[in-house]
Each structure stands twice: as structure tokens, then as C-alpha cells.
Amino acid sequence: MSDLRELYQSVILDHNKRPRNFGVLQGATHEAHGHNPLCGDKIHLQIELDADGKIAEVAFSGEGCAISKASASVMTETLKGLPRDAAERLFDQFHDLVTGKGGNPDELGKLAVFEGVKEFPIRVKCATLAWHTLRAALENTSTPASTE
């Protein structure tokens, strides 16, 4: 039961109910679509990189489960102002965190709330969808990102 509390803790529930940076971004320089075929989570991620290669603005839209929505929301909050290679590093850290392989809490900051996902392997793909989509967006590939 405490595992469930870990997974659906207040930060995650809050970001699900009131997702941050949810909507359409005007002036996006990069974007991608993501899809989790297992459960139907869909995300459209838009990023605006400034002249220095920093993530100036980011927004997402789509529909999906609480974990995928909250993950996208916290991710967009964390990404703002970061240089793109920092974003890439965070992907690896986040992935390690939710698959129980570790992850550096100092680097992860607020993202550490998703540690509970490691007890629910079936839900890992829900948590990582936004991040796979981020990667696709930064590479500006037109093929939709997938968790497969």
C-alpha cells in the first residue's frame, strides 16, 4: 500500500490535475509526437530553443494516464532554461531512476518524485514517454516517438 502512496503521491496527482506548460507553443523550433502503444498515452511536445541552444520554452498536449501526464508536466518545468545536452543527461538519469538503477537525486531535483515508478515496472513506459518524445523533438525527427 505504501508503494501506491509512493507512486500516486501528491506532487504527481497535482501535476496530473493541473499540468504545467500544457497547451500549444507558438514559435516552437522543435516538436515531436509520442505514443505508448501499450496503453494509448499520446503526447505532442513542442520546444523553443534559443540562439544559445538553451530550452527557452516548452509545452505539451495530449492525453494519457496520470503518470504520463505528470511526468510530462514535471519534465517541462525542469527543462526550462537548460542547455540541450543537460536535457539529454537528465533523460538517462530519469530512466535509471524509474527502472530502479539509481539516478542522481541532486541532478534530478523534482523529478525524483517519480522514484515510486520502479516498483511498478508495467508503468515505466508511462513515465518515460515524455522523455522519449523530448529526444525525438531535439533530433527533430518526423517519425513519432514510441516507447517500444
Binding site: M1, D3, L4, L7, Y8, L13, N16, L38, C39, G40, D41, K42, E63, G64, C65, A66, I67, F120, I122, R123, C126
Partner: protein, 419 residues
């Protein structure tokens, strides 16, 4: 740990020995996350009674051997048991002859067999295959593939907001161009029961054949393929309390006789030389390679098991339970049932306001409750209702009102978490 007992018995069918039935399924004794297992995922797969498990064990301990060609004793025992299993399936489906029963890996393989064997030989440009929006992917994709191979066109009967086939659209889509109609007996996503017999008459009047996906039909009541007038009928063993990896295809003899072989190999031949091969007679023509011998024998034991309870009794019990479950779910705030056909079997699909089915499923799992969440291999159904997924509770012979009560309590908990 005792399994869930019914709280009060608001449904009572004389002669339906629910306690004895539950006691026959060893897995129902287990806990999940410290709670008694409440298994409501029967449309995905069913649990196995002790007699089926023992039958499999006995086969491997006493008479396991390859079938059909051995002269030694074990092989003869295995062959007799395997062919008896075929006969058991014939009886369960009400078919006339054993040779009309092809044993397969399951429903999916059976439908692929019909599509590739009957379909390839009988479809060409200008011909049409008619399915419906209700279908499981296993009764969509094989037809898409064969239409692409042959130049035929695929059409689909739409459904209404209750999840029922729109019959006048079916009439309009059923023309002289239609060669094959493929429909589910019971929808796995919504529980809708299709009027197969009525549809068969229309299909035959147009000179087409009817292929029925019976995966969810067989577990929920008696099936008589002759009465239904189906040309082909497929089902899976693991959905009717039998082992995985086994199922059957019923096909009308004249049709099967005319069909070219599907998979080539041992057993489906009478003689092989490099220049010429003579195919075997029915049903072996369609059973290449060593079959799932244990699976077939286990399936026969499962069919015996449900027959001993009585398929009519099972249908009546599950109907009452479905009714109880429908009313119970309707009383939970924020729940909307998806699939409200006047005739349904075994399935309660629903969505909850603002809460994704995936989250519902995870929280229920923590309570020991097993349901399925997602598109249920029926993406066109989800698209029709404009939803990404549903949560689905599906019934089996061993479920009780207590299971439904536990589900409702679990859903209240889901509401709490997301409040």
C-alpha cells in the same frame, strides 16, 4: 486464505454450486499484494480447474508420445486421447463430423487459416470482405492482409452508441460482391452478443460465407454451429478454462475439402517425393507438424468440466452476475459503462471521469483485483467511442457478487486517491 465469499446471495441459481466451483480452482486461493485474489480478467484468459491441471500432468507422466504414426503402445494411447479430444470439441460445438474440427493454436491462428486458405483461393479484385467495427484485431488484420494480397476490398459494419451492430448498414454493405463475412459471436471489448443465426441467413442469401470469431462465445453458453449456420467457427482453449496454445476451427466439410492446405509439413501429407506431394484428408490436411497434444487433451478435460456444470447454467448464472455488476457500477459516481447492448455476455467495460483506465488498473491491482485496461485489441471500438481505453472487468464461472462488491470498493478507493 479463503477466497472471496458472496456478501449476501442476491442471485441464487438452484444447482449452481459456486463454492464447489471456486474450490476447484487452486489459483483462487492465492493472495496478491496481501489481499485475496479477485480475478476479473477472464476475457483475457481464464483460470484452470484442478482436473485440467491433473490431466496435463497425467499425460506427461504416463503416456506422452507423438501421435498418429507410432506403432508402440504409448503412441497409440496418445493418439486415441488426442483424437478423442477432437471428438470432444466436435460435440461441444455441435458439429456433425470429427473431420470438420481442425485443432489449432487458438482463435487467431484459426482465422488466419481461413483467410489464407479459403480467402486466397476465393478472393480477387472486385470482391469484398465484410467485418465490423466491433472486431478484435485477430478478426481484422488477417482480412486486411488477404485483401491486400488478392486485391479484394475490406468493409466494416458500423456500431451504434450502445455498441450494437447497425443492422441496416449491414444489409446495405452485404452485396453480391461480398464473398466473406467475418464477425465475432460476443465482443471481448463490450460484451455485445451478435445475432449470428439471423446474420448467417442474410450472408447465405447473398452467396457468401460466414466466419465466426467464437473466442468469447464458447465460454459463456452453449454453442451449436449447425444451429447458428456458421460456415466457420473458431475458439481458444485458454478462454474456456483450458490450456494455452490450443484452440479449434470448425469448418463445413464441403468448404474444407475444397480449400488448399495452409501450413505444409509432416502429418498433412499422404506421400511426399521431391516431384510430387499428395495431401492428407481432413482434418489432417490442415494440421501440419506435431500438434499441441497435451493442450488438446487438456482442452477436452476443460470442456468436460464446463459441461458438467452445464453451459445453460453457466449462461444463466453469469447473466445474473452481469446484471448485478452493471447495477453496482452504475451506482459508483463518475463511472460510465461502455457497451450497453440489450444482449450482452460476460463483460463490464467502463471509464471513470478524469481518471485514466491505466491508473484505475494499477490501484485495483494493489487491492488484489485483476481487471484489464487498454484498448483490448479493439482499437476501432475505442475510436468509435472517442476514448483511448477502457477498464474492463470480465466474468467467469467462479466469480461472485463478492467479487463485484470488492471491485466497487476498489473503485471508491481509486476516487479517493484522485480526489
Amino acid at each position: 486464505m479463503p477466497s472471496t465469499e458472496p456478501s449476501t446471495p442476491p442471485i441464487n441459481l438452484a444447482g449452481y454450486k459456486i463454492k464447489r466451483i471456486r474450490a476447484a480452482f487452486p489459483i483462487l486461493e492465492r493472495d496478491v499484494h496481501g489481499r485475496p485474489l479477485v480475478y476479473l480478467d477472464n476475457a483475457a484468459s481464464t483460470q484452470k480447474p484442478r482436473v485440467v491441471i491433473k490431466t496435463l500432468k497425467r499425460y506427461y507422466e504416463h503416456y506422452n508420445s507423438n501421435v498418429h504414426r507410432g506403432v508402440h503402445h504409448l503412441s497409440q494411447e496418445a493418439t486415441v486421447a488426442y483424437e478423442n479430444a477432437r471428438g470432444r470439441v466436435r460435440a461441444a460445438l455441435g458439429a456433425k463430423e470429427d473431420c470438420e474440427i481442425i485443432l489449432t493454436r487458438g482463435t487467431t491462428e484459426a482465422i488466419n487459416l481461413v483467410a489464407q486458405s479459403y480467402g486466397r483461393a476465393n478472393l480477387g479484385p472486385g470482391d469484398e470482405v465484410l467485418i465490423s467495427v466491433l472486431e478484435h484485431h485477430s478478426n481484422i488484420v488477417p482480412w486486411q492482409i488477404v485483401c491486400e494480397q488478392t486485391g479484394a476490398t475490406l468493409r466494416a459494419v458500423p456500431i451504434d452508441d450502445r455498441g450494437t451492430l447497425v443492422m441496416d448498414k449491414l444489409d446495405a454493405l452485404l452485396t453480391e460482391r461480398t464473398k466473406i463475412v467475418a464477425l465475432g459471436h460476443v465482443s471481448n471489448a463490450l460484451g455485445t452478443v451478435n445475432p449470428i443465426k439471423e446474420i448467417a441467413a442474410k450472408v447465405h442469401a447473398m452467396g457468401a460465407v460466414l466466419v465466426v470469431d467464437g473466442a468469447q462465445g464458447v465460454p459463456h453458453g452453449p454453442v451449436d454451429v449447425v444451429e447458428l449456420d456458421a460456415d466457420f467457427y473458431a475458439f481458444s482453449g485458454h478462454k474456456v478454462y483450458g490450456p494455452t496454445g490450443i484452440g479449434a476451427l470448425y469448418g463445413r466439410k464441403e468448404l474444407l475439402d475444397a480449400m488448399p492446405p495452409w501450413q505444409g509439413g509432416g502429418d498433412m501429407i499422404l506421400s511426399v517425393s521431391i516431384d510430387k506431394t499428395v495431401y492428407n484428408e481432413l482434418p489432417f490436411k490442415f494440421e501440419a507438424g506435431t500438434p499441441n497434444i497435451a493442450g488438446a487433451i487438456g482442452l477436452a478435460a476443460a470442456l468436460d468440466y464446463v459441461d458438467n456444470i452445464g453451459l445453460e447454467k453457466i449462461a444463466a448464472y453469469e447473466a445474473q452476475l452481469l446484471d448485478y455488476g452493471t447495477r453496482a457500477l452504475e451506482s459508483v459516481k463518475g463511472i460510465r459503462l461502455i457497451g450497453t447492448a440489450p444482449e450482452k455476455a460476460g463483460v463490464l467495460s467502463f471509464v471513470m471521469d478524469g481518471i485514466h483506465p491505466h491508473d484505475i488498473g494499477t490501484i485495483l491491482d494493489q487491492e488484489g483485483i485483476a481487471i484489464r485496461t487498454g484498448h483490448h485489441c479493439a482499437q476501432p471500438v475505442m475510436e468509435h467511442f472517442g476514448i483511448p481505453a477502457t477498464a474492463r472487468a470480465s466474468l467467469g464461472v467462479y466469480n461472485t457478487t463478492g467479487d463485484i462488491d470488492a471491485l466497487v470498493r476498489g473503485l471508491e478507493k481509486v476516487r479517493e486517491v484522485f480526489a
